[in-house]
Amino acid sequence: MTEATGTPFVLNTDKGLETSLRGFLRQLLESGNIGALILPLKVPSGDSFAWIMLNDAGMIDDAVPFPATMPVQGAKALRSLTRKERGELTVMALMRPCEIRAGIELSKLGQVNTENLILATYDCAGAVPLQSYVSDPAAAEKNFKEFFITGEPDQNAKPICASCTDFSMVDSDIHFGYFGVREKGMLVIPGTVRGTDLLKKMDLQTASGSELLPVWKAEVEKLTEKRSSVRKIVFKKTEKDISGFTGMLNVFENCIGCHNCQSVCPVCYCRLCYFGSEASRTNPEAMVNEAVKRGGISLPPDRIMFHTGRLAHMSLSCVSCGQCTDACPVSIPVADVFSFVAEQTQHTFEYKAGRNDGKPLPLRDFKKSELPGVHKLVKDAEPGGTSHE
């Protein structure tokens, strides 16, 4: 959890969290301190949500600040707005913590410009899988309500949510905290200088949240602990599933090579993925020769190559949002694998994706002396390698 950079305020929640948040957003838009908001709205068919950028305050009533599911990873909305050009328009986006973390990661990758963005997050209880929502919105809403209240993602949530430990305040400009205090109010917590300034400018005539802050913190810590223990169990299982020569083959054996997992991934930003490019196309003659050598091959080619390549390309930036699993047409638990490997690769470089802590992307940086484990591998590979002794 990130620390507050200023005094939090409390919003009255007598009429519910959503109403109080909508009221705040309206006040913010009308104050003229921001030019537009990015919020989820229900699509006309009623069975999903879309990101809508709006400057018409009347539309805030149609917004669903806490949507039950996550159709398009929010970072993609931020990217489409700022990839080409940053502008003078100040826009605030209210998104789940993993969406904002992906947005921050994309800003390091040069795909999002946060200069005139206000990034806002809220305590996230989890989301229901997209497929469940689309196939039965009413049931999904009901299921969502249940864990939205407890803050503990259950079996109806996306599997990855139960093991997410970054579900509350991240490096956003403003965070809305309600875990453990929702009856008393919703905390509006500034997380950056920009957030603090904005709240100051708004001149909210509401109570100070200094008293509620520790209560909220304690609850978030409690929930973090719970989710950490789930995380350990899930990771153990994944480790077992993917280990060994056949591990990845087994997990991905149904993969049809559609690359949906990559195209919905917020941090896989390349327009033309290497694994869909001419450069990666297998020489057809070599492919048949390979088949002759083995008696046969499975097609389309290079599916495991694709997944391991993607792990190498982007696991350092994976925010464990679970979108890849949601988009897989053959129900492969892609995110379990990516999130597990991400934890290992990020740990190796003492890096955490989605933070705004001044640390550069690991592969853009090096120290002259680091990674003793790699030195050991190199030594071992030398003739008469020493480290066995």
Binding site: L41, V43, P44, A50, I52, L54
Partner: protein, 141 residues
């Protein structure tokens, strides 16, 4: 329909015929509809069908394609391709129940200033009757 409604008609006009025809209408001081927003293209076949879609989805009330008469294209066969693509886009519109009347193709030569003015005025009237393009206000596109 609202009297105030002034249609906007995005008009792709080829440099060699239709655009020159529009110019002639101007220099001949013929009055033609201010709804026409002319865009010069080298040949009508330069217009990717996606341009028509983009104009339509961005709220143009009408989209006009102007080219040389068949057989007269400066690039010989460009406008034959244009005609096929136009038929294709129209069919896509019809199949989706969208108003294909918001798309118009017209052959106007460099010397047909009066025809240009007539087409512009008639098409503007047609679009005025159709009313505003619903894409102008739709936020989920």
């Amino acid at each position: 329909m609202n009297k105030e409604f002034t249609p906007r008609i995005t008009s792709f006009l080829c440099k060699w015929c239709s655009y020159t025809g529009a110019d002639l209408a101007g220099t001949s001081r013929l009055q033609y509809s201010t709804s026409i927003i002319p865009l010069q293209v080298m040949c009508s076949s330069r217009v990717d069908p996606v341009f028509l879609l983009k104009a339509y989805l961005s709220g143009s009330d009408g989209v006009l394609m102007g080219g040389c008469h068949p057989g007269d294209c400066h690039y010989e066969t460009g406008n034959y391709h244009t005609r096929r693509r136009f038929a294709l886009v129209k069919e896509v519109f019809d199949s989706l129940g969208l108003e294909s009347a918001r798309l118009k193709l017209s052959w106007i030569s460099a010397s047909e200033g009066p025809k240009f003015a007539r087409v512009a005025n008639e098409y503007t009237e047609e679009i005025r009757k159709l009313g505003e393009n619903p894409t102008r206000k739709s936020i989920f596109l």
